[in-house]
């Protein structure tokens, strides 16, 4: 399994010379299976580049949306495979209590926000609602579950015979906890992330920034490391970098958290184009 970030930024794209090392695109990660099956995790602005690098002849691609906040779907309308007749595109994501996934996506993929309607796309589009549960894509065994973030939001655990990753890009497991972490039973995301080889986890804020952002659905770098330690992750990839943090500030902030907590597993901040092999 090969895991490649195409967008690592949270909330808003932040392109420019100050973010060239880690990248300025919003959330999108490609997972390539041993059989060549391809998952795109979220459809932030990074998904446009992901589409440009798909292998020729590919007949199916699966897009797994964690939630429908704009930074996670804004690239969807620019995802090339949607415009290829006959291409099989499966989009997985959460419905809400009153709206189907299709109805929710239509709010973006329709005028006045977007010129092309969802129903007019020439590909073979299939939508799947993923509140919680398991499904299989090629050699991938995928598990989805709701996690703590405003609005319907899921995280994903993806396993093959060779390893596992968990993807929780927007996650605030410390919300309301008087002492974080609580035990496993009472920690959002624990089951999804337990023992994974690679954990992509929200690390948008520093501890100093967090008090002004409680309830916004994101974690501190410290809490990301603490969560990874609790679940026994083998490798943490801090993700969803704040758009206001340039490369130097990002490295300094994560470096400080690592120096403070001294995790006994590697911590590698997600950077566009820097792949992980499992």
């Amino acid at each position: 399994m090969k895991v490649t970030p195409y967008g690592v930024r949270g909330s808003l794209a932040a392109p420019g010379p100050a973010t060239t090392r880690y990248g300025g695109n919003t959330s999108c990660v490609r997972v390539t299976g041993p059989d060549g099956a391809i998952l795109a995790l979220d459809a932030g602005t990074g998904i446009r580049s992901l589409a440009l690098e798909l292998p020729p002849g590919l007949s199916r691609v699966d897009v797994l949306l964690t939630h429908l906040h704009m930074d996670h779907i804004i690239g969807l309308g620019f995802f090339g495979p949607l415009y290829i007749p006959g291409m099989e595109v499966h989009i997985w994501g959460p419905a809400s209590a009153t709206l189907s996934l299709e109805a929710r996506l239509r709010r973006y993929l329709a005028p006045p926000l977007f010129p092309v309607r969802l129903r007019d796309l020439p590909c073979r589009l299939e939508l799947h609602q993923t509140g919680r549960g398991r499904f299989v894509v090629g050699k991938f065994h995928v598990r989805a579950a709701r996690i703590c973030h405003p609005g319907p939001t899921v995280g994903y655990r993806i396993e093959t015979d060779g390893g596992s990753i968990a993807y929780l890009p927007d996650h605030e497991p410390a919300l309301g906890a008087r002492h974080f972490p609580m035990d496993a039973e009472w920690t959002s995301g624990f089951d999804l992330a337990q023992g994974v080889d690679l954990l992509f986890h929200d690390a948008q804020y520093t501890r100093e920034e967090y008090p002004q952002h409680v309830g916004w659905g994101h974690s501190t770098m410290h809490d990301s490391i603490v969560f990874a330690r609790l679940v026994g992750a083998k490798h943490l990839v801090p993700f969803h970098h704040d758009p206001a943090r340039d490369d130097a500030a990002l490295e300094a902030a994560i470096g400080a958290a690592v120096a403070d907590l001294k995790p006994d597993f590697p911590v590698t901040p997600a950077a566009e184009g820097k792949s992980f092999e499992i």
Partner: protein, 129 residues
């Protein structure tokens, strides 16, 4: 112990901040949490009891109709919340604690149902009359 759903986790977190006594049960009626104000009324700390299965809860806390208060329309509100998946209220209930102290309480219970219409548990809020 398997991880609770995020909805139940958030219910517990909220309960831990409230002044009103709150008790949280899972779908089997097992008490999975009660907050500090509830500890004061129940006379036992959650750290001491941990989870309480229904049989044990019946032994520790007997909640029954107060014969002096007149009948209520519904049965036990938590049972109604779990079995009928709707909120229920009892204006006058007599709570007999394990230490035999008797308290008259008012109680509201509601089911916790997720966006996929799955019952996850129920919450009881109660207070001394």
């Amino acid at each position: 112990m398997a991880q609770q759903s995020v909805e139940m986790i958030l219910v517990r977190q909220l309960a831990s901040y409230l002044f009103v006594p709150v008790l949280v049960v899972d779908t089997t009626g097992t008490v999975v949490f009660y907050n500090e104000p509830a500890e004061r009324i129940l006379g036992v700390r959650f750290e001491e009891t941990g989870r309480i299965d229904p049989e044990e809860a019946d032994r520790l806390i007997e909640l029954s109709d107060d014969p002096t208060a007149g009948p209520d329309d519904d049965g036990p509100p938590l049972v109604t919340a779990l079995q009928q998946r709707r909120p229920a209220h009892a204006r006058r209930w007599l709570l007999r604690r394990g230490d035999r102290v008797r308290l008259q309480v008012e109680l509201t219970a509601f089911p916790v149902i997720d966006q996929e219409d799955r019952l996850l548990g129920a919450v009881a809020m109660f207070w001394e009359r």
